[in-house]
């Protein structure tokens, strides 16, 4: 320590500093995604490895090139491109052609993030932008699912429910019931031994990762808790009123991308509200929209769109839940 720094230091606030940094926080997110990564590699084998590598590599390359071309400070060290690549890969079907996965990663980084000004300025979660783009661009590839381990083409649990609902509406109750028999057991859905996107099938692995993030203090419990809670309560009401019982809400909580969405995407620091009350509203909105899309919408799964829609209103939520500033006089005389 030299003489100068031992002098009395006068500085403006904030005076409390800690060692948290964006790269370290992103590293923790990657660590939290590891259980899901392992589950994905186990259930989908080489298909999983290829898609994940493609997404991460393309995302990182796009990040580097974009910053260079736009003449901005290099940002690759903050690890956020790796997280975006991983998250995008986790919500793609295992059999997706690699060029589509690559385009998705490029769209996520270039359009979803860098064109908005880079990390911290993006309005929407980049990985979800990539996924939404791909779903609209190549709907067939994005909805062809393969079963874990053997890779046979299959339907996702939510897809089965949607299809059965359609048959029911057409008056073919017998066929609907036959279809419902294909639904996997809740235990398989918890572990992830079901058809679905690469990294979202194993609810258990995602919960472990989510708990790690909660423990490290990187995410606020309010968003995942209210999000999953809203889905659970709403589907309980539906389940009980239609006579399907408690199986129905448990199914909805474990199915699709709810876990990865609630723990890793809705909690994105940049695109979710910063106030506590706002986070609760955000979680409630995500849950409501997810259930609405799943039960009434055209798509079997609504996590991606519900989070994107709530990202849109995040600035509004923040504005209306600003905490009161004390010490101000309401009306000036």
């Amino acid at each position: 320590m030299n003489n100068e720094s031992s002098l009395l230091l006068v500085s403006s606030s904030p005076h409390i500093r800690n060692t948290d940094s964006v790269p370290a926080a992103m590293r923790d997110v990657i660590i939290a995604l590891l259980p899901a990564l392992v589950a994905s590699l186990y259930f989908f084998r080489m298909a999983s490895l290829k898609v994940i590598l493609t997404c991460v590599v393309v995302a990182v390359i796009c990040e580097v090139v974009c910053r260079k071309v736009m003449k901005r400070e290099a940002s690759i060290h903050d690890n956020s491109a790796i997280v975006t690549g991983l998250l995008l890969a986790f919500c793609l079907p295992p059999a997706v052609p690699l060029w589509i996965a690559g385009i998705g990663a490029a769209v996520a980084i270039i359009i979803g993030k860098q064109l908005f000004g880079g990390l911290g300025n993006n309005i929407y979660n980049p990985a979800l932008i990539g996924r939404a783009f791909l779903t609209a661009a190549w709907p067939v590839y994005m909805t062809t699912w393969s079963a874990p381990l053997d890779g046979v083409t299959t339907a996702t649990p939510l897809g089965i429910i949607k299809e059965a609902g359609k048959l029911q509406a057409l008056g073919d109750a017998g066929a609907a019931q036959e279809l419902m028999k294909q639904l996997p057991a809740l235990g398989d859905m918890l572990i992830g031994n079901i058809g679905g996107s690469l990294g979202e099938t194993s609810a258990l692995a995602l919960i472990i990762g989510g708990l790690y993030l909660l423990y490290r203090g990187h995410i606020d419990w309010r968003i995942p808790f209210t999000y999953i809670g809203t889905v659970f309560i709403l589907t309980t009401i539906i389940g009980l009123s239609t006579g399907q019982g408690m199986w129905y809400p448990l199914f909805h909580v474990l199915a699709g991308g709810l876990m990865i969405g609630a723990f890793f995407m809705a909690t994105d620091w940049v695109t979710s509200p910063i106030t506590k009350k706002g986070r609760i509203i955000f979680g409630l909105g995500c849950g409501l929209l997810t259930v609405l899309i799943r039960t009434k919408g055209g798509y079997p799964e609504g996590v991606c769109y519900s989070i994107l829609l709530m990202n849109t209103v995040t600035p509004l939520i923040d504005r209306y839940t600003k905490s009161r500033v004390f010490g101000r006089v309401k009306n000036h005389a």
Partner: protein, 197 residues
């Protein structure tokens, strides 16, 4: 300003779509194929030219306080004409443009040129302004629709560009594709203008 400059300003420097960002709604909606873009541009240009001429001629007769309704009546007259002509001679185009032909009546570029230019200038400059703005708008529509059609349908003016195995990105001919294209083009225009300064 010379007549030549009145003509050329609408093409790039004051391009109604890319520089003034007027008339976005029809431009995003109909630019799903080059054929639609070109058809819309032609219909638009014809109405703009005719309304500019009429308004420039009538500019001293139209009372100031009711000029907007008067402009609308004039524009609506020409739109109705164009609509009937298209219905008769280009029924396919008429069908694919649909509601966006009658909506030319409320196109802000046409009303904007009437208000900002034709009602204040004599006949010849107004003709040049109408031609230039019409050409600029048509050019902009063709650029957007070419981008969207090539990426979204794999064709250009209906001609397949890639083999049968090609997988065009469907999103580009859907509404989000219009916004993405428009945003990227506007960003590039701004960048080039910024660099040129």
């Amino acid at each position: 300003m010379s007549l030549g400059k009145e003509f050329t300003k609408g093409i790039i420097r004051e391009n109604p779509l890319f520089r003034l960002t007027l008339g976005l709604c029809p431009s995003l909606a109909v630019t799903t194929s080059v054929e639609n873009g070109l058809g819309m541009g032609a219909a638009f240009s014809a109405v703009l030219l005719a309304s500019n001429i009429t308004i420039a001629l009538l500019r001293k007769i139209i009372p100031d306080s009711i000029r907007i309704p008067s402009f609308i009546v004039i524009i609506a007259t020409f739109v109705t004409l164009i609509e009937m002509i298209m219905h008769a001679f280009a029924p396919d185009l008429f069908k694919s443009l649909g509601i966006y032909i009658p909506l030319i009546v409320v196109n802000c570029v046409i009303l904007g040129r009437a208000e900002a230019f034709a009602s204040k200038n004599s006949l010849m400059p107004s003709i040049m302004d109408g031609l230039g703005m019409g050409l600029g708008f048509t050019l902009a529509l063709v650029i957007i629709s070419a981008f969207r059609e090539i990426l979204g349908a794999g064709t250009f003016y209906g001609i397949p560009l890639f083999g049968a195995s090609a997988n065009p990105a469907l999103i580009m001919i859907l509404p989000p594709g219009g916004f993405i294209t428009m945003g990227i083009i506007l960003a590039l225009m701004n960048k080039f203008q910024h660099d040129a300064k």
